[in-house]
């Protein structure tokens, strides 16, 4: 058995004089090992697309059925925080790409630096998310028994809402009664919390992942020949960013033009 490793290279023509220390025993060459990792990561991201896909299907269905509720509920989310977070995430994608570039060019300090900046940007995103969630809790916009949908601009409770609605409201004629809005806006907020919550969970996983990668990078584990973990974390990070790029318009900008 022990000699099997040593002779594994026969018949390939790729045999190097010395193995890279990160070459696992069951691979023949570094490129083969890297190709396997890259393919595996893309397949994993494919599963992630289908994972979020179920939520997007539910979103499409209910947005079609209850468009007014989605438009109304969407207006209650602070566009400022969402836009800020979009910018933060796009910036973090840039710093992540720069981290991968630093690994490719053997710049260890730059690699560690860009990774740390990326993590800080991720933490900023999560901090903003906490502010937004807190606001939702305070407004009773978390679906469930304590959920209260108060029409914006109609602060006087349910009776006043009905009047406001009868008077065509501030924005547009609503086809739904306040009671219907009370029920169906919960669907919007259920999707809002599930989608952004799962996205935030993916951000947290990404930051944990990147902490490990940063320590490895600091210890000089990576060089131009072997930086697969950095690249894999980068692919993951970009994917999580892209999910947000879809979530932002779908949740924050349902009907903001009026």
């Amino acid at each position: 058995m022990s000699n099997a490793v040593a002779h594994a290279q026969q018949g390939h023509g790729h045999a190097h004089a010395a193995h890279h220390p990160e070459l696992r025993h069951h691979f023949d060459t570094m490129p083969q090992q890297k190709e396997a990792a890259v393919l595996g990561m893309w397949v994993f991201l494919l599963t992630e697309i289908l994972f979020f896909g179920g939520l997007f299907v539910a979103y499409i269905l209910y947005r079609t059925w209850y468009f007014d509720a989605f438009a109304e509920a969407s207006r209650s989310i602070a566009i400022f925080w969402g836009a800020l977070n979009t910018a933060v995430l796009i910036l973090s994608s840039l710093t992540m790409a720069l981290a991968v570039r630093s690994a490719q060019t053997n710049k260890r300090n730059a690699l560690v630096g860009w990774l740390i900046i990326t993590m800080i940007l991720g933490a900023v995103f999560l901090g903003v998310k906490v502010i937004e969630y807190k606001e939702k809790f305070e407004h009773h916009h978390v679906p469930g028994a304590s959920f209260v949908w108060a029409h914006e601009g109609a602060e006087g409770g349910a009776e006043a809402q009905t009047e406001a609605n009868a008077a065509a409201g501030e924005h547009r004629q609503l086809s739904m009664t306040p009671d219907e809005l009370q029920r169906t806006t919960q669907i919007f907020f259920s999707l809002y919390f599930t989608m952004t919550g799962l996205h935030a969970l993916h951000m947290i996983v990404g930051i944990v992942l990147m902490t490990v990668i940063t320590i490895m990078a600091y210890r000089g584990k990576f060089d131009a020949e072997y930086y697969t973990p950095v690249e894999m974390s980068g692919l993951y990070w970009h994917f999580v960013d892209i999910v947000w790029i879809f979530l932002f318009p779908l949740l924050y900008l349902v009907e903001r033009h009026t």
Binding site: Q10, G11, E35, T47, G53, V57, Q186, S190
Partner: protein, 541 residues
């Protein structure tokens, strides 16, 4: 060579001793053995619930267990058998063991992820067993809302989490196979030289990777609704329970193909080996696996014909469901053509293969009844459906699994089991299976609904037949435990290639060394060429 077959001195089983050498192994073969033990435990646990079901149904009155307890019995039977036995069965045991050597690789592409998938399976199993120990679940294995979200006061959340977690085990196995098959093939092992077993696993892996995340997110949505009071499927707040059914079946119909396609791959190996002939129409058989995987994703709504979906979409789904019969029939016809003028012998694996062909045929053709819109209205939720999917899942998938296990057992352990005992068991399984499930076609057609613990008196004869058959079937499943365990110590030494089969895996020693091959094999011949096989002497008890 004839009289002195000996086990190799070192092999994967004795390379390292103690519990840690197993629990921390990255060897795909050891992981396969641990999966084998785990799913066998689950199989007999799920079987216990089947015993309970058949005991209750032996009499028309609900006299053995209460209606509530009966609901828990069939739910736990379904959950355990589907998610913890059938889905991992062939891929995680036989696939894990055989895909790398069949393509001349030393291991799967990601050995640590392979071990991780086993641990994830165990964690999912622990959740489910916890739910079982603390009162069980009564929603049916389909977890339909709104009952599962707000109605049932049983352990829905732990079971749903268990299924959610076990799903990732399935995803990781599929991901590992896809990358391994793409990137780890030995020199000369082109796509069209791969054994059909590997093609079947490639197709299965695609379904696992593309389907499982959807049921995962569906369970998340069910979870937030049940645990936090969110509104996603809740009809009182405008949610749509039928959306749950769509999302659930988007995975769970293809999941049927996760169970059956690997068995189809096993079948191709068995039929070719025991008729000593190249498989007829290799590329058709290979592509029909992929076709089943693709078609499998666009037929899910045939489970929902009476759930209030539109007539037009029902017509489309009915038509597409019929089309699955085409690649399935391609396989059966090609196997028949392979058998034609072959040098057929009737070893135990081949008995299972024959059983499979007959039962899969009946299971497949009765599927066409259910895909027919008008017929389905009559048969929906009757015992006809129960009989149909047991013909596919038990008659198909488990027959394939048992055939494969008997076929590769000498490779996995280095020893032969009792040929006499195993033939008896194979025949018992076939007879018992038909006695159990054929009467259910009739009783279902006559109108007996599924999921009730009592039924009108006139159905008793057929139900007693079914219960009697179940005990024969149970015996047929218990016997292998005895003679397979016996073979570990006392079985005759098998040698590398006891069946005279053609695949690369038969060039390894039995049991194989940890590295599989001392040198990376170079493949220079087509698959299933028996003239190249150095006749390993058949060595039967």
């Amino acid at each position: 060579m004839l009289d002195k077959l000996k086990l190799p001195e070192t092999h994967y089983l004795n390379n390292g001793h103690g519990l840690a050498s197993w629990l921390l192994t990255k060897d795909h073969k050891r992981i396969a053995i641990m999966y084998l033990i785990s799913i066998s435990v689950m199989f007999f646990l799920g079987g216990l619930f089947a015993v309970g079901i058949r005991l209750e149904l032996a009499t028309p009155q609900g006299d053995f267990v209460s209606a509530d307890m009966y609901n828990k019995f069939f739910t736990m039977h379904g959950v355990i058998m589907v998610f913890f036995f059938l889905i991992p069965s062939i891929p995680a045991v036989l696939g894990n063991f055989l895909v790398p050597p069949m393509i001349g690789a030393k291991d799967l592409a990601f050995p640590r992820i392979n071990l991780l998938s086993l641990y994830i399976y165990w964690i999912g199993g622990v959740f489910t067993l916890y739910a079982l120990a603390t009162g069980g679940i009564d929603t049916g294995w389909t977890f339909y809302t709104p009952y599962s979200a707000t109605g049932s006061n049983t352990n829905v959340v732990p079971v749903a989490l268990g299924v959610f977690i076990a799903g990732f085990s399935s995803i990781l196995t599929g991901l590992n196979f896809i990358v391994t098959i793409h990137r780890m093939r030995a020199p000369g092992m082109t796509w069209f030289r791969m054994p059909l077993f590997v093609w079947a696993h490639y197709a299965t892996s695609l379904i696992q990777v593309l389907g499982t995340p959807v049921v995962a997110i569906t369970i998340v949505m069910l979870f937030v609704e049940r645990a936090f009071g969110f509104a996603i499927f809740d009809p009182q707040r405008g949610g749509d329970p039928v959306l749950f059914q769509h999302l659930f079946w988007f995975y769970s119909h293809p999941a049927v193909y996760i169970m059956i396609v690997p068995a189809l791959g096993v079948m191709s190996e068995l039929i070719s080996t025991f008729s000593r002939k190249t498989i007829f129409g290799y590329s058709f058989v290979a592509f029909s696996s992929l076709a089943i995987a693709v078609f499998g994703f666009i037929v899910w709504a045939h489970h929902m014909f009476v759930a209030g979906i539109s007539t037009y979409s029902a017509m489309v789904f009915s038509f597409l469901s019929f089309s699955v019969a085409i690649p399935s029939a391609v396989k059966v016809f090609n196997w028949s053509a392979t058998l034609y003028k072959g040098a057929i012998t009737f070893e135990t694996p081949m008995l299972y293969a024959y059983g499979f062909m007959g039962l899969f045929l009946i299971g497949g053709l009765t599927g066409l009844f259910l895909a027919t819109l008008g017929m389905d209205v009559h048969l929906h939720d009757t015992y006809f459906v129960v009989a149909h999917f047991h013909y596919i899942m038990v008659g198909g998938a488990i027959m394939g699994y048992m055939g494969g296990l008997h076929f590769w057992w000498p490779k996995m352990t280095g020893r032969m089991y009792s040929e006499f005992m195993s033939r008896i068991a194979a025949i018992l399984v076939f007879v018992g299976f038909n006695l159990t499930f054929f009467p259910q076609f009739i009783v279902g057609y006559l109108g007996m609904p599924r999921r009730y613990h009592a039924y009108p008196d006139e159905f008793q004869v057929l139900n007693v037949m079914s219960s009697a058959g179940a005990s024969v079937l149970g015996l047929g499943y218990l016997l292998p435990v005895i003679y397979l365990l016996w073979s570990l110590k006392r079985g005759a030494v098998a040698g590398p290639n006891p069946w005279g089969a053609s695949g690369l895996e038969w060039q390894m020693a039995s049991p194989p060394p940890t590295e599989n091959f001392a040198e990376v094999p170079i493949v220079d011949s087509e698959p299933y060429e028996y003239e190249h096989v150095v006749a390993g002497e058949k060595h039967l008890v």
